[in-house]
Symmetry: C2
Subunit: 480 residues, 2 copies
């Protein structure tokens, strides 16, 4: 095993899981987090209170012994509850047999559980209140701003688990050959709360609730305290059009009548909670070396001469007195992990699940290389890229399905046909939703499989009312 | 006219032209350039020595009285000279009548000429050796690093003309809702020189020379000193495969035999000149306001809390002692111009031409708004975006044409057919190349026009050897 100094930037979901996996492998790892220890502070208002953990996330959590614990603190949601504009509800199970569920869990609580496990893992050291201000891959030096002034650290391997707007990534963002994009949706989000009513859930807790409204939508997920967190996904123009209490109440009365009844703090939540943006981030390569050959920083299109060295915030000043260039030994490797490599929109509930898979893959690659980092990280990025691209696209696509198609007759007929095929051909015919949420099939294999299945679904949709169904099932049976 | 403090960042081609246009409009403008005054220093080695100015660029230069001067220092290229692997040459005119030319001109010389004009324009002040390290749009403060220490400036309007890797753009790069991408080609570039031979051009100076080689290519443009600047466009792997003198010479002997004869410094150029990268940069919006409503910086996907304020380099330290937040008055507007808004690959020779059009459009919009900046900049970005997107795509597409299709029989037949139609239908049928290079038709209108024409070209390609040509011409005549 290489004797490398390993640093993880970010002690969120991915950072904690990865630290734990590495620690168990005998790797010493220092984790730097810009926030305070969340186990000692309160959650922020209106900021993604819950997330949906499904098969991939549970498999990863299982590797560090948290699978059962997570499930015990989660609320299973076995299907979608669709709310139409009249206030009527209808339930659509996620799986053909109705037994599969995704799991609503508190992001803060899951993070705290992962922190506890990481903190107890030998070799893992956690540093809070350390905001990364600069990384120099040529020397392996990391600069942090802390409540007690600037701090320096050195690393041979930097694992950037610091999210969609990764500070660590800025070390390479403007280097030649780094293909990068951030694409924002026209839609923004805002959270609202439906509190418990008479001590119980005000809506069915066994469902992810959706109010599909064509161009926009609202969803709601249950919390352990029997409240629901609602999230509005509207365009910026739609949000801007409602400002006064009466405008807000009138609009909800017209389009979300049940919510007006269930959310007594609607106006206050709407007026005070922040608007969030939704972006897809794509980057390549994910792995960078301080001592790469090839490009100089001097070309006119590629970089600005700061390649491999970058300041990431206004306070780079603090440490710059004694920084850079001299340094000890060789350069560092930097790998982007989770949202830092591939932030996706939340419409498939796969952001955290996908990030967890990244961590498990890094661990697996290290096992295969006997602890050799360069080869392990190269395998990691090679294996994960296509999968993460695939879920990014499916997540964007699912927004249209949720807000619009979920309520159409054609869509309902298709789901019914899918479930009909799934029951008749168990394990052979599985819907996209189930492949994403209830299996660990690599994401990249799913679109192709679905395309092949779709031809049959089309046949079967007609077959639900006719004899052609048997023919479809027979053809599928023969073709496999 | 608004009484705004206007700053241009970057005294390259776009910055100088824009400063001159604004100065003539009575706007006082300070221009900050990170390099020294190029009128007092030498050119860098292997860095885009020449560029091709065509109709759009000449129209813009004409507005500041530089059209004639530029042409007098340029070398017209009336067509492509294609070099096949045997060393044989064949000439293909750019226009049907053979009279139209693009113009090879020294980037350094054109920049110096524009600097001279800007420096003489009342109201324009030029500051060299000023490297932008931070912009705070909330206060309008700009921070610079100079040879004599840090400097501050304030602006109400910041015009970012500082190129593909714009430092000014970093003020908004990580703000919520800023859609941005940098896409690198797998191909890199490297420049070589074919010196004058016996005091004369070693190749025909009236052509842009192309060595199309399928996956890769080389081009050469003539210089006033009778040398040619060659640019290799190869993949990184192709470059990496040749390192020793004998490998280099053997490869060129096999694939570019004429170049071995003409370029005595081939090995030295190849080994010493830097590898450049090629990127397409897309960004939106181009115009930003320090006091925007809407998004807070506190959401989980949108930004990192530094929206509207950013440090752009390691030396933000220098000025941070007395910086920010207090400040005087309202926020600043920032507009991206030229490569900072939309860097494109060089294969249509339109990067500078397109940037010049941006400057002219800003000037036109200011005329229309009577000097009102917010409305002018909003019109500017609205009118230019689709055009710049269109030329970005056409430039990417032209790479394939130049390196691959230009030498195919199908392509040659198509060009011949186009020229045949152009001669028969002057002004009605015009090739894409001519619309881009020899007209000022908005770029965005070109793809649609070409699609409509293509149906006819296909007919006409056959018609060159048959009677259907008359029919095609007749149909076209009727349809217009």
């Amino acid at each position: 095993m290489d004797d490398k100094r390993v640093v993880i930037v970010g002690a969120g979901l991915a950072g904690c899981l990865l630290a734990t996996l590495l620690g168990r492998r005998g790797v010493e790892v220092d984790v730097y987090e810009r926030r305070d220890d969340p186990r000692a502070s309160a959650a922020e208002r209106g900021r993604s209170i819950n997330l949906a953990i499904s098969a991939r996330g549970l498999a990863a959590l299982g590797q560090v012994g948290l699978g059962e614990q997570a499930l015990s603190r989660a609320l299973p949601m076995h299907g979608r509850m669709v709310h139409d504009p009249s206030g009527a509800e209808s339930f659509r199970p996620y799986s053909a047999d109705g037994t599969r569920a995704i799991n609503s869990i508190s992001r803060a609580e899951l993070t705290r559980a992962l922190l506890d496990v990481a903190a107890k893992t030998p070799g893992v050291r956690l540093f809070f209140d350390h905001r990364l201000t600069g990384v120099d891959l040529a020397t392996g030096e990391l600069r942090f701003e802390t409540g007690e002034g600037p701090r320096l650290a050195r690393a041979d391997v930097v694992l950037a688990c610091d999210g969609a707007f990764s500070a660590a990534r800025r070390a390479v963002t403007f280097s030649a050959g780094f293909t990068y994009s951030q694409d924002y949706l026209a839609h923004k989000y805002k959270e609202l709360t439906i509190p418990a009513r008479d001590g119980d859930f005000a809506l069915d807790p066994d469902a992810l609730h959706i109010w599909p409204r064509g161009e926009s939508m609202m969803i709601a997920l249950p919390n352990l305290d029997r409240s629901f967190t609602c999230t509005l996904f509207w365009t910026a123009e739609q949000f801007a059009a409602l400002t006064t209490p009466s405008e807000i109440v009138e609009h909800f009365r017209a389009h979300y009548p049940d919510v007006v009844r269930l959310a007594p703090n609607l106006v206050d939540d709407y007026q005070r909670n922040p608007l969030g943006s939704l972006a897809t981030i794509r980057a390549w390569p994910w792995v960078h070396h301080g001592r790469s050959g090839g490009d100089s920083g001097s070309d006119r299109r590629g970089g600005d001469g700061t390649s491999g060295q970058a300041s990431v915030g206004p306070s780079a000043k603090a440490t710059a007195g004694g920084s850079s260039s001299g340094g000890g030994g060789g350069g560092a490797m930097l790998a982007l992990v989770g949202d830092a490599a591939h932030a996706i929109v939340p419409f498939f509930g796969q952001g955290a699940n996908c990030a967890f898979e990244d961590c498990v893959e890094i661990d697996r690659c290290l096992a295969e290389t006997g602890g050799g980092w360069p080869a392990a990280l190269t395998s990691y990025e090679r294996r994960r890229k296509a999968n993460c691209d695939a879920i990014a696209e499916m997540a964007l696509d699912n927004f249209v399905e949720m807000r619009d198609r979920v309520n159409s007759h054609v869509f309902q007929a298709r789901v019914a046909a899918e479930h009909w095929l799934e029951r008749r051909l168990p394990g052979r015919y599985v819907s996209r939703y189930e492949l994403v949420s209830f299996t660990t099939m690599p994401y990249a294999e799913i679109p192709g499989r679905i395309r092949r299945q779709n031809q049959l679904t089309t046949l079967a949709a007609g077959a639900l009312t006719g004899a052609a169904g048997l023919a479809a099932a027979t053809i599928l049976g023969r073709n496999r």
